[in-house]
Symmetry: C2
């Protein structure tokens, strides 16, 4: 079975770990979000790709869900001693190696997809991990900063990098707009459209529908390829009981005018893209609404408390895919 998964960071990575356990012999291609990429200290950092790679490769820091286990932060402390920041982005000493190797390979002319493959040679995630694009796409967020006492005065409107919004500000101010800068000009990376065309099923894990899955879909050609693939496209709601399972998806959903509920996210994707949608059992009451939108819907437990729970969710998604296929 050939499965294509559109993955963001922590949620996508943990779902993928469950999927691998659920169907160990499946041929899994992960199309990874690169909209959260950022250049730090002259290095190219790809947080979502790395979270998938580290999680599936057994290197992840389990507690925080990102970064490497057994990590130290001496290099970052030295950079701070030089007065070089940002200090709010936690790059560990081990993690730096990934970004140094990536940056060196990019500088030598390799595209990000080839670099990602080379990095995965070491981590062996057990899936084929492809960045959504080899082109530069960086999500930015329009915000109005609270009064900082600065000369700019209160209510200063700024467009900031997604990581600055997410990590530094912890999404503490409303996102007024979310823009995947560069997406319109980006081309899908080699292998992305082919994997979609050859897939038996396409899954949207419980990743952020705006800044993760939404950014991948913003690369021209990917949404169309999924819609035209003629195979079941099944999503899992990242919203449980009107709140994000993890992270701050509600903050960026508001920016695109979508309420933070499981059915609203399904409707946001739309029946033109999505064939099936899993909501949590606490949201069983909304199944009817989703199905009224032309999307087959089931209510199952969606809390990824451990790998087994994620595996059960993956099996439910594949079961729903078979239901869709049988129609």
């Amino acid at each position: 079975m050939r499965i294509v998964v559109l993955a963001g960071g922590i949620g996508g990575a943990r779902f993928l770990r469950g999927l691998k356990r659920a169907v160990p012999d499946a041929d899994i291609t992960v199309i990874g979000n690169t909209g959260d990429d950022i250049h730090l200290f002259g290095l190219k950092v790809c947080p979502d790709l790395d979270t998938v790679m580290y999680t599936l490769g057994g290197g992840i820091n389990e507690e925080q869900g990102w970064g490497l286990t057994d990590e130290t932060f001496r290099l970052k402390e030295e950079l701070a001693a030089y007065g070089v920041g940002p200090e709010w982005f936690g790059l560990g000493d081990r993690d730096f190696a990934t970004h140094i190797v990536r940056t060196q390979m990019l500088g030598a002319g390799y595209p990000l997809s080839a670099v990602t493959e080379a990095l995965c040679d070491r981590w062996k995630p057990g899936v084929r991990l492809i960045p959504m694009t080899d082109d530069r796409v960086e999500t930015h967020v329009a915000v109005t900063l609270p009064d900082s006492g600065s000369a700019a005065g209160p209510g200063e409107r700024r467009v900031i990098h997604f990581q600055e919004y997410w990590v530094r500000l912890r999404a503490s101010v409303p996102a007024e707009a979310v823009v995947p800068v560069g997406a319109e000009q980006a081309k899908p990376a080699p292998g992305v459209l082919e994997a979609i065309a050859e897939a038996d099923v396409i899954l949207f894990p419980p990743s952020n529908p705006v800044v993760s899955v939404g950014t991948i879909l913003a690369v021209p050609g990917i949404r169309e390829a999924i819609a035209d693939a003629g195979v079941p496209v099944i999503g899992l709601s990242p919203i449980v009981g009107d709140a994000p399972v993890r992270g701050m998806a509600d903050k960026v959903l508001a920016a695109v005018g979508v309420e933070s509920t499981a059915p609203a996210v399904a409707e946001h994707y739309g029946s033109g893209l999505l064939d099936g949608w899993l909501v949590d059992t606490v949201d069983a009451g909304c199944v009817e609404r989703v199905e009224a939108a032309g999307i087959r819907c089931r209510a199952v437990p969606l809390m990824m408390t451990d790998v087994d729970a994620a595996a059960r969710m993956a099996r439910e998604a594949l079961t729903l895919a078979e239901e869709v296929r049988a129609v």
Copy 2:
């Protein structure tokens, strides 16, 4: 008193620490060798500049004479896990910060001299440290590698980077030629010629006469400026009792046809450049030979066993400068 010092790495740095103790109020400008610079992992590494900066700034690993104290090597281990080398060059986690800041600033368009000044803002070496040039100069060494059992067969002639010769091979094969690649086209960094012109005395510490001081002198304009400065130019022999005090200076002296003795090095610099030369007391017998070459010579203890010993050597050098000036 304005003192200009042409410095390589460990020997130059330790001498400078003594010089600062000997004349704490002196205005010291260090012209640093950059011929041992190397690009590693996409980062610009300047070993001699850093050794001076770390030594005078109190960060040096005293035992080994290079690198930072209290160092760890986790990033390097991760790079090795990616199969990315070289493994023979010991970059520590803290040290990496220096190279990352430097590389980022160079990438932003700052010349190496401005970058070095910015790095020194943090370490406060108490001297003005200027790279000999902002242009790229990298010393290479021609060697004949011993039979490695490879297809290339025995006696393969290769031109390798100085660091590969010095650090990886530990100068275990003869250097057949030493070439400061790029030196001919290099210009002295801003401030170098001005410092020389305004100096009251110019010192050559017991640094390597070929790959440290020699490389600095290979930048067009620097040798001439020193010869024309009209102030005492005093050197300290890096060879004591026919062997280098530290390092493997004898290996590269042979490449330029100079025997590894204190008087031969003085003659190599020549009376057109050098006014005074300090040899160790064990080499007192050669004073006459050096003076016959037109270079005033004194035999004093030249073993930098500690900072006080280095300070005594610096005082002897300044005393010899006064003798020269009085003539």
